[in-house]
């Protein structure tokens, strides 16, 4: 069954998601990876997020470039280390690929967040990406913090409620 999730994602949505569920995400989502996520975590630490509203949001672990978007490995050190901090700050769904560690999975549970994997189908995602907007750290180029408006991004819940597919 096709389950549609629209951002912002409520706590109730998260409670109803389970490992193995296939979902289709629509709405606005943030994008960031190795270079920018530690900087966002630093802004959280300094209580200086400003106009960036992470509450009930999605972060897609991807670069944003003319080549399109597609998941990078969420278990890269700087990305995986950001997941607990971002979850505590309100991010509800982290979207990427690859196995993440058991400590990260338990932190997701603690902060009522989940991890989903998305097939690396850049050519297909292009048709489901409505718009993109640079949010912060433009000097990072394709690794800057972006916001996309998307329609029906297909993904599968890989870690939720302290359980995972790994």
């Amino acid at each position: 069954m096709k389950r549609e999730i629209r951002t912002p994602i409520s706590e109730e949505d998260i409670k109803s998601l389970h490992v193995g569920d296939t979902i289709y995400i629509s709405g606005k989502i943030f994008c960031g990876r190795d270079a920018v996520l530690p900087k966002i975590c630093m802004l959280i630490h300094d209580d200086n997020l400003g106009y960036i509203d992470l509450q009930d949001s999605v972060i897609f672990h991807t670069a944003v470039s003319l080549a399109g978007v597609g998941p990078t490995s969420s278990n890269k050190v700087e990305i995986e280390e950001s997941i607990p901090v971002l979850s505590e700050a309100g991010v509800r769904l982290h979207l990427g690929k690859g196995a993440i560690g058991s400590d990260t999975i338990s932190k997701l549970y603690e902060y009522n967040a989940v991890y989903a994997v998305i097939p690396p189908v850049t050519a297909l995602l292009k048709n489901n990406t409505i718009s993109q907007c640079l949010v912060a750290f433009p000097e990072l180029g394709m690794e800057a913090f972006y916001e996309l408006e998307v329609r029906d991004y297909p993904c599968i819940i890989a870690a939720a409620h302290n359980k995972s597919i790994y």
């Binding site: 399109g68 278990n75 690929k97 994997v117 690396p120 850049t122 050519a123 180029g141």
Partner: protein, 282 residues
Amino acid sequence: MDDRIIKIVSNGLVTSGSSFLPDKKAAYERAISKETNPQAKWVLEKILENAIVAEKNQSPLCDDTGVPHLMLDIGPNCPISGDLLESIKEGISQGLRKLPGRPMSIKGDDAQRLDQSLGMEVDPGALEAAPILIRTIKENKIKLHIIMFGGGSAIRAKTYRVFHKHNVDNVIDEIISWATEGTKLLGCTPCTIAVGIGRSHYEATSMMFQALVDGTYDMQSNLEKRITDKMNASGVGSLGLGGNTTVLATFMKVGPQRASGVRIVSMRPCCCFEPRIATIEL
């Protein structure tokens, strides 16, 4: 520089970054028909659908468009000049702009390129290809193989020594152990496992590269099949979701070996799109 060479190399790069070869499409079709895990089957179908759309639009298969790696096959009476190599280089640049490639060339001196402190060039064409590998062939022609290597597979690849203890099983089991660990973390499965075995790290890695150029999904040697079957029994599956399609095939090339107890093995768990390859006659 030679405009004809520039144009066909540029077009070849776009083909390598946007298309599956027929044997790869057939391998996916076989995998889809055999896969019993519904989610893993859905992922395989999406990857093949993505490849068909990318080929039709001549657009990137993956947003990590990769770093160009080149190999020249040179026939007996075919001269190679500096001008030809410069024309190939320019063709690669133009192809990266046309695909378009992801702008990934890092600016600065040695230290700045290591810590990425000066950021990146905005021009996709500024990305340099890796050093060219050259070998001879019997046909009287020059062939250029273009392979685009992505970062995820590079993170999980490994080149290291293996003590064979005079038993091939020890070498194969070590490769399977590395590949199993790599595919779990990679995420972009099903993989093609590329293996080169040589007398040095340089030779092993160049053997791994040649294995990707020469390999075909239609035929597996006994050793390749053994690795493939064992990997598919691991249960990692497509996108790490389980099922029986962790790898599509293994491409292995065993080079000359040293009189020694050690073999140098290079293993790359190539992601679901790799090898992104095109071969063109110059």
